[in-house]
Amino acid sequence: MSDYTRASLESVFREEHGRLLATLVRRYGDLDLAEEVTSEALEAALQHWPIDGVPIKPGAWLLTTARRRAVDRLRRDQSYAARLAILHVEQDRAAPVSAADEPSEDFPDERLQLFFTCAHPALQADDRLAITLRCLAGLTTAEVARAFVIPQSTAGQRISRAKKKIRDARIPFRVPDTDELPQRLPGVLQVVYSIFTEAYSASSGENLIRLDLAEEALRLGRILRALLPNEREASGLLALMLSTHARHAARTRDGMVLMLEEQDRELWDRDMIAEGSTLVVHALTGGSPGPYGVQAAIASLHAEAPTAAETDWPQIVELFGVLATIAPSPIVSLNRAAAVAMRDGPQVGLELLELLRRDPQLQSYHPFHAARADLLCRCNRFDEAADDFRRALALAGSEPERRYLRRRLMEAERSGG
């Protein structure tokens, strides 16, 4: 098989894996069985398609093949015999493999149920991320381990712990009812956003952004948005990730992180920004906005500004104000203070930061010290700025961020006494 065929098949598989798995889990109520026959079906496709050609409905072909394997397994396993009768799955064995006569309704999209199962609050947060990447993004255990920079054994433990709890405590495969949805949806969005922030907050090491992981999060965000077209926060989350990720190519230069005002805006992905802006409109239309929608609106304003100086700071300050009421946190207050400084001048910003200085969370948050140092520079208080850059350096993790802070520290020291 040519590399090209393999690559194009792999992209089909990435698309179909989550749907196939979700459908099979739904049908057989057994995540392990569903996983095994999903990978067997993909394996079979790798053997047959390069010779017989890719079927017209690859998804239906895969589903039929996987079902046959599942029934074979259920038959062989005595302990499943009773369940087999209950499931009435015998007809699956006889179902035709011909793709053309499989109606597409036969392959409904049940990934949303799988999202809610993988993001169930009864699972540990780390386990939720791991099982979501495993089941919905179709990552292997090794890939999950690489995504979180953890040993493969740890990733394996997280995945199997989650599976065991799903099975033994019987976490249901279902989408919550309309009255429960507002309570449960944030958990699902949180899982996807956590995968995205993990890609962006490499706490150590040489790379600031892990592209593959960010792209997985975007892919999951797109699926969620497609499955929940009326949920504005699903649009908000996708918009936030798009507007942020659109700037990734400009975020570093020569291994050093660049602040927004230093970035080459030519490198920003205009299509992604436009897509994000459109989604923001949906996220903010009708009713009071959610935190993802508001954050997306802020990211979108940054992305749309032709130059840093032309950024709509008054609007950004307003939006941070909204965010501070619906999702208050010291970090939101910090960001609002930074935006106020851009609108009203560094002195006003410094006064606001003074009020936040005692917050223990911000004490150990290097962007706080870096932001304060930056404002002190703008007020020509270079010696104090140097102290704050040193504080930030002591806390900062990734090498690109450290390089930026070292450069700023040197500049402050040179300008100071």
Binding site: H120, A122, A169, R170, I171, P172, R174, P176
Partner: protein
């Protein structure tokens, strides 16, 4: 599937403000829904006795455990419901989950 709801209070003297009627009502709701299997409130923690048998087969009996443990098991219910979400819903309706108390939901192992 059967789940046990373990009803915990943060201390022996703890009062979460729920009345006897609240508990009676909760029991009735479970029975009316046909999910109740069994359940009991436990007598005061000071009446508890602990038994241990060591490797030599020697039995030791001690008073307690006492309330220095952070959570005190005050009672339990066993319910039969389709899945964890249903069990969590019942746990949330249990008066013991309110006012600082908590309910631990444990699936009952099936062999």
């Amino acid at each position: 599937m059967k789940y046990m709801l373990l009803i915990n209070a943060p201390s022996a003297e703890f009062d979460n403000g729920c009345s006897v009627e609240d508990w009676v009502q909760f029991g009735k709701e479970m029975q009316d829904a046909g999910v109740w299997v069994t359940g009991h409130a436990l007598a005061d923690l000071t009446t508890a006795t602990t038994v241990q048998v060591d490797s030599a087969g020697e039995r030791s009996v001690t008073d307690g455990p006492f309330a220095e443990t952070r959570e005190v098991l005050g009672g339990f219910e066993v319910i039969d419901v389709p899945d964890l979400d249903a069990a969590l819903d019942w746990a949330a309706r249990c008066p013991g989950s309110r006012g600082g108390g908590s309910v631990v939901v444990r699936p009952i192992a099936e062999f």
